[in-house]
């Protein structure tokens, strides 16, 4: 299982990348995609929608389950990864490339974990 240095993580298994221009990119971790299994559909918000830290902004479906994806930050959706709508398997294949949304006008954030902290968090849960 891969955890990338340089990204931030949530306890609900999203990764967060600070883009340096005030926007952040959000995706699902490798751990999350393994737990979820083969994903078959992704429900994403629309660009312009508001998101709130700690609240669900979309969900991902496997054949027999659906799981909410939580926003690590509050802000406004700048862009969604439309490729995922046709190819949700990209999350399974390359979870750190298959970003879900980019958020701008970030106003608030959850407490985020570093790669080391996230690894420790996962180990704790084992």
């Amino acid at each position: 299982m891969t955890i990338l240095e340089g990204l931030k993580y949530t306890k609900s298994h999203e990764w967060v990348k600070e883009n340096g221009d005030g926007t952040v990119t959000v995706g699902l971790t490798d751990y999350a995609q393994q737990e979820l299994g083969d994903l078959v559909f992704v429900n994403l918000p629309l660009a312009g929608d508001g998101v709130t830290a700690g609240e669900a902004f979309g969900d991902v479906e496997s054949v027999k389950a659906v799981s909410d994806v939580f926003s690590p930050v509050s802000g406004e959706v700048a862009e969604i990864n439309e490729e995922l709508l046709d190819a949700p398997q990209m999350i399974n294949e390359t979870p750190y490339d298959a970003w879900l949304i980019k958020v701008e006008n970030v106003s608030d954030s959850e407490e985020l974990l570093s790669a080391v902290e996230y690894e420790a968090f996962l180990a704790q849960g084992e």
């Binding site: 559909f41 054949v63 659906v66």
Partner: protein, 441 residues
């Protein structure tokens, strides 16, 4: 008497012993004594099959089966080919549950896949679900497909069947959405009023084709008006009329629904019927209920499964947009067998003859002094007449001759003629009506 329990009293004692309890009462230990029933239910004692048959037959004979039916209004008498009843009585179809286990349900799954294909062909739409309860609940579910957080008002044409309207109203009441009526003008949706009504909070517009009065609406134009406002367009269609009329897909509908009863189901005092629902590919995932899809099995052979299940209530629970689980699968099978048996030509004939005979009957009635046919423009197999006498006097005279006349409505009587009624029967009915009208002059 008969309880359909194979085990004998002796066997039951042995089974109790095997479990290690003394009596059946042991299993009900958790039930508070104060509510345990101390005496039998006040329901008559069980009866033999012969006695039950006689009772049920007696009840059925208390109903009047009309020799000629000139009433529709949401339930239509069409010819049902013999083979339809035999195929749909096969126990493997009748007594199966929802096909959760694909490996032992390919027959059911394939039959639903074939049904979905036929509904798509009939409506011209991209996808269909495996059915819902009936046309009215299908219309209500279609509204639920279209709403979103910002658009919470559903527009419905006043020319809609009253039961369909009431059902949509109930579903909207539940979910907290508003339903607004678009008024009618001369028996059709008032397009100017529709344009006015298309405010920014409207999610969808529903129109019935042909409408409650039998009239064909200008569905293409209505669709254009609706789409210009960025609103979803739902059409409720009579599937028999679809054999000859412009499809909802061609009219621009986003969702097409309807009452499938004309496709091989008997009148049956209102049910079970069949709600069909079809959508554009963009709306597919919003469809409620079961959907069957094609896939491959582990050997690479073609196989069918229930798919897109993560939309459904058993997975999404309170976040599901619909709670539908049971549907009307056997009625969907009935419709598929019916359409397969009728074929394209048979369907066209049944629809064409219904329309032609209804127009013939309307002409006969229009020739009677004081009777006016209110329908203008094109209409299908239902029409409304104004009468010089009370509707009840006409209906009573028809009933005396074993004819079920049309439905009394605000302006007179709503008639329906289908292919099963002969010219001779129509002439006879017209003569009776003429006599009643004449006697009152």
């Amino acid at each position: 008497m008969g309880q359909y329990i194979p085990s004998t009293k002796e066997e039951q004692r042995e089974m109790l012993a095997a479990i290690g309890v003394d009596s059946l009462a042991a299993f009900y230990e958790n039930v508070p004594d104060s509510v345990l029933l101390k005496e039998p239910l006040h329901i008559p004692a069980g009866k033999s099959e012969l006695e039950v048959r006689q009772m049920m037959e007696t009840m059925s004979q208390e109903n009047k089966v009309f020799g000629t039916i000139l009433r529709g209004a949401g339930a239509y008498q069409h010819y049902i080919p013999s083979i339809v009843k035999y195929i749909t009585a096969k126990e493997e179809f009748v007594t199966a549950y929802t096909p959760y286990q694909a490996e032992m349900s390919q027959g059911i799954l394939q039959s639903i896949f074939e049904y979905q294909t036929m509904i798509c062909d009939l409506t011209g739409m991209d996808t269909s679900n495996a059915s819902v309860y009936d046309g009215a609940s299908a219309a209500a579910e279609a509204i639920a497909m279209c709403r979103d957080r910002k658009r919470t008002v559903a527009l419905v044409s006043a020319t809609t069947h009253p039961d369909v309207l009431a059902t949509m109203r109930t579903y909207c009441y539940g979910a907290g959405y508003e339903l607004r009526i678009v008024p009618e003008k001369d028996g059709r949706t008032d397009r100017d009023a529709l344009e006015q009504a298309l405010t920014a909070d409207v999610c969808c517009f529903y129109v019935q084709q042909p409408n409650f009065y039998g009239n064909f609406e200008d569905c293409t134009a209505l669709g254009e008006t609706v789409h210009q406002a960025g609103v979803k367009y739902i059409m409720g269609c009579n599937p028999m009329a679809l054999a000859v009329m412009k499809t909802p897909a061609a009219c621009g509908a986003d969702v097409a629904v309807g009452e499938g009863q004309p496709l091989g189901m008997p009148l049956a005092y209102g049910g079970p019927y069949l709600g069909f629902m079809a959508a554009t590919s963009a709306m597919t995932r919003k469809l409620p209920g079961r959907i069957v899809g094609e896939t491959k099995d582990a050997d690479g052979n073609r196989a069918y499964v229930l798919t897109l299940q993560a939309r459904e209530q058993h997975i999404r629970r309170e976040k599901a947009s619909s709670n539908v689980c049971s549907n009307q699968a056997l009625c969907a099978l009935t419709a598929a067998v019916y359409m397969g048996t009728m074929g394209p030509e048979g369907m066209r004939q049944a629809a064409g003859q219904s329309m032609s005979k209804a127009h013939y009957f309307a002409q006969k009635l229009a020739a009677i002094a004081g009777v006016n046919v209110l329908n203008q423009g094109s209409w299908f197999h239902e029409f409304v007449t104004e009468l010089p006498v009370s509707a009840q006097s006409v209906l009573n005279a028809l009933e005396a001759e074993n004819i079920l006349g049309g439905l009394p409505v605000k302006d007179g009587i709503l008639w329906c003629v289908t292919e099963v009624v002969s010219k001779e029967q129509l002439d006879k009915a017209a003569a009776i009506i003429e006599e009643v009208c004449a006697s009152c002059n």
